[in-house]
């Protein structure tokens, strides 16, 4: 398959991008607003073309354990779900992190807590960036703002997961999952052969040839001293990721007096608000973190030394604002504007909220 320009939903883009990436397997369970990922994969029948396995599992729990299993075999495997389903996956995600396994998890967030709503939300920021499951671990968390990024982050997520042997998550909101946009799909690349997997992943569980010792994927270690060493190894990987993989986008920060910090599709709404503000003579810049972990603390710290205040806009009750405040270290006021319950604010609401918090800016 050559590079292709298509109009499609963000969820569909993820499915097509995964087939073109050469993914070996997908295991999922239906939940709104992300069921198009499983539906698209079933309709595309990649097992007939690339040999990719697609399976509708009996639950989110089974699906994430299938991902753990596939990753343990050195395969490029992924799953997707939405907030309540991702809560169910947390135990398995902790095992994947502890097993130092590469895997991709997609969360197309809906409003919570509980069964919540099926409409867009960003309320799983804490869960995604601060752990989520048990134990000391991190996921590489990518926040797409466009359908193009839904496709691009499949490749980026898998590549980072294999580079660092750690799970990566695409943390999308329901809006970017459901909306249709133009997307450039990458040319297809073949799935890795068994020989390539054995070379890339010498630890993979493949069946033991006489030439090596058994490969055993376990996360159990009853010797506390060894378990401490394991944890220190995980932490070294996380420090390396923090040093090398921070990604973000800046808009209008050169002359900005104030900043808005927002991620995902909300950042695009905020950009509209900022363009309107600039017509009114209010110079606001935008920081859109692309990696929510590792977080662009240094960039925000640097900007906080030459601006007057920050508005953090999220569709939650205030989660990423805690990381912004850590970066700002009290230098300037940091306020929050959010809508809850699946409501997405419009650009005027964001600008009104900005003026309400920073009346001196007008």
């Amino acid at each position: 398959m050559e590079e292709d320009v298509r109009l499609m939903k963000g969820n569909e883009a993820i499915a097509h991008a995964a087939i073109r990436y050469g993914a070996d397997g997908y295991f999922g369970y239906p939940i709104t607003p992300q069921s198009e990922i499983l539906e698209t994969l079933e309709a595309e029948m990649p097992w007939e073309t690339t040999g990719m396995v697609v399976l509708q599992a009996e639950s989110e729990i089974a699906a994430i354990n299938m991902v753990y299993a596939g990753a343990a075999c050195g395969k490029a495997v992924f799953t997707s779900s939405s907030s309540p389903g991702v809560s169910l996956k947390q135990e398995g995600i902790s095992y994947i992190a502890a097993g130092e396994l590469p895997a991709l998890i997609v969360n197309v967030m809906r409003g919570g807590p509980g069964l919540g709503t099926i409409h867009p939300s960003q309320a799983d920021y804490f869960q995604a960036t601060k752990g989520g499951g048990h134990g000391d671990y991190h996921l590489i968390v990518l926040a797409p703002a466009t359908v193009q990024e839904m496709a691009d982050f499949v490749t980026l997520g898998f590549d980072l997961a294999f580079k660092y042997r750690t799970p990566a998550m695409i943390l999308a909101d329901g809006m970017v999952g459901q909306m249709m946009e133009k997307v450039v799909l990458p040319p297809a690349r073949p799935r890795r052969t068994d020989e390539e997997i054995a070379r890339q992943c010498p630890w993979a569980v493949t069946g033991k040839p006489a030439t090596r010792k058994p490969n055993i994927m376990t996360t159990l270690e009853l010797d506390s001293y060894q378990m401490e060493r394991n944890n220190e190894r995980y932490q070294r990987t996380y420090r390396l990721i923090e040093e090398n993989e921070v990604r973000y986008q800046e808009y209008y920060t050169d002359d900005a007096d104030y900043l808005i910090v927002a991620f995902g599709s909300i950042a695009r709404i905020c950009l509209k608000s900022i363009e309107e503000a600039r017509k009114q003579g209010i110079r606001i810049g935008l920081i859109r973190p692309i990696t929510l972990w590792p977080y662009p603390y240094k960039t925000i710290t640097g900007l906080s030394k030459r601006i007057k205040g920050i508005l953090v806009v999220e569709i939650n009750a205030g989660q990423m604002i805690e990381d912004v405040r850590l970066a700002v270290e009290g230098r300037v006021p940091v306020y929050h504007f959010g809508r809850l319950g699946g409501i997405v604010p419009n650009p005027n609401e964001v600008l009104d909220a900005f003026k309400h918090n920073f009346p001196e800016a007008q």
């Binding site: 070996d24 397997g25 295991f27 396995v53 399976l55 599992a57 009996e58 639950s59 729990i61 089974a62 699906a63 354990n65 299938m66 991902v67 753990y68 299993a69 596939g70 343990a72 075999c73 395969k75 495997v77 135990e91 398995g92 095992y95 569980v205 493949t206 069946g207 033991k208 040839p209 006489a210 058994p214 490969n215 055993i216 994927m217 376990t218 996360t219 159990l220």
Partner: protein
């Protein structure tokens, strides 16, 4: 005649399977796990499929199965072994994939994964150790604990009005169209060990040949959990466990 004269291949009547390594087993004396581990090692060696075999270890007493049988293993979260085996087999169709699970792992927390893997006719073998008790955590009630049986969480005996009935999950699994072979065996006598070996070999062959899901239940003793000597436990098992969990094939659709 010296010792050297006796140690000759033609005089060999018993040896440790090559795939059973020298690690000290953590199992209690009298426990059935060691015998079943040995059988698995022996069968994989005999079938010549060491390089094609992937085992899935459970949570429970057999959590360290991977320390004893020299093959590639994945250690599963509690109850999830059949889901893990599903993915391993689908992603590696040429491999022989088996799970090794206890009664709590397979028939309580993992019931959903057990039923659905079997219902999808996953080409995997499930080795199910049923000793009617949670051994690893210190002898609590299992789904297969017999009525009236004392455990640390049924100190006055299992009451069906409080705790429900012993779960005959193999009979349940045998109802599913996806299973090709469901059998109940034991390893408490040399004859039983030979039958159990044939059953496990059949299950492994079914996985290799893609015939659907096989489940081999091994009705076992947990003399520590049951608070009996190994000999007493064997007798108690014959008299009580076999009455509820009778020996023999429950289903076999494989043409001999």
């Amino acid at each position: 005649m010296t010792t050297e004269d006796i140690i000759r291949p033609e005089n060999l009547v018993y040896r440790k399977p090559r795939l059973l390594n020298d690690n000290h087993m953590h199992y209690c004396p009298g426990c059935s796990h060691g015998v079943v581990h040995r059988l698995i090692a022996e069968i994989i060696e005999e079938m010549g499929i060491e390089d094609k075999t992937i085992g899935i270890a459970p949570v429970g007493c057999a959590v360290f199965a991977y320390n004893y049988v020299d093959i590639d293993w994945i250690e599963a979260a509690h109850g999830r072994a059949p889901a893990i085996a599903t993915a391993v087999k689908r992603l590696n169709p040429s491999r022989m994939v088996f799970t090794y699970q206890g009664d709590g792992d397979l028939a309580a927390i993992g019931t959903c994964e057990t039923i659905h893997a079997a219902n999808r006719a996953e080409n995997i073998a499930i080795i199910f150790i049923n000793n009617g008790i949670y051994g690893m955590t210190g002898g609590q009630m299992a789904p297969t604990t017999l009525e009236g049986m004392k455990t640390s969480t049924t100190p006055y005996g299992r009451r069906v009005d409080l705790n429900g009935y012993p779960l005959k999950i193999s009979d349940l699994v045998a109802q599913l169209d996806g299973t090709c072979y469901v059998t109940r065996q034991s390893v408490h006598t040399p004859a039983a060990v030979r039958k159990a070996k044939a059953a496990i070999k059949q299950a492994f062959t079914n996985s290799m040949e893609g015939r659907g899901t096989s489940l081999v239940e091994i009705v076992s003793t947990c003399n520590s959990g049951w608070k009996m000597s190994p000999a007493q436990a064997n007798k108690w098992m014959e008299e009580n466990m076999f009455a509820k969990y009778p020996m023999g094939d429950i289903k076999n659709t494989v043409k001999k």
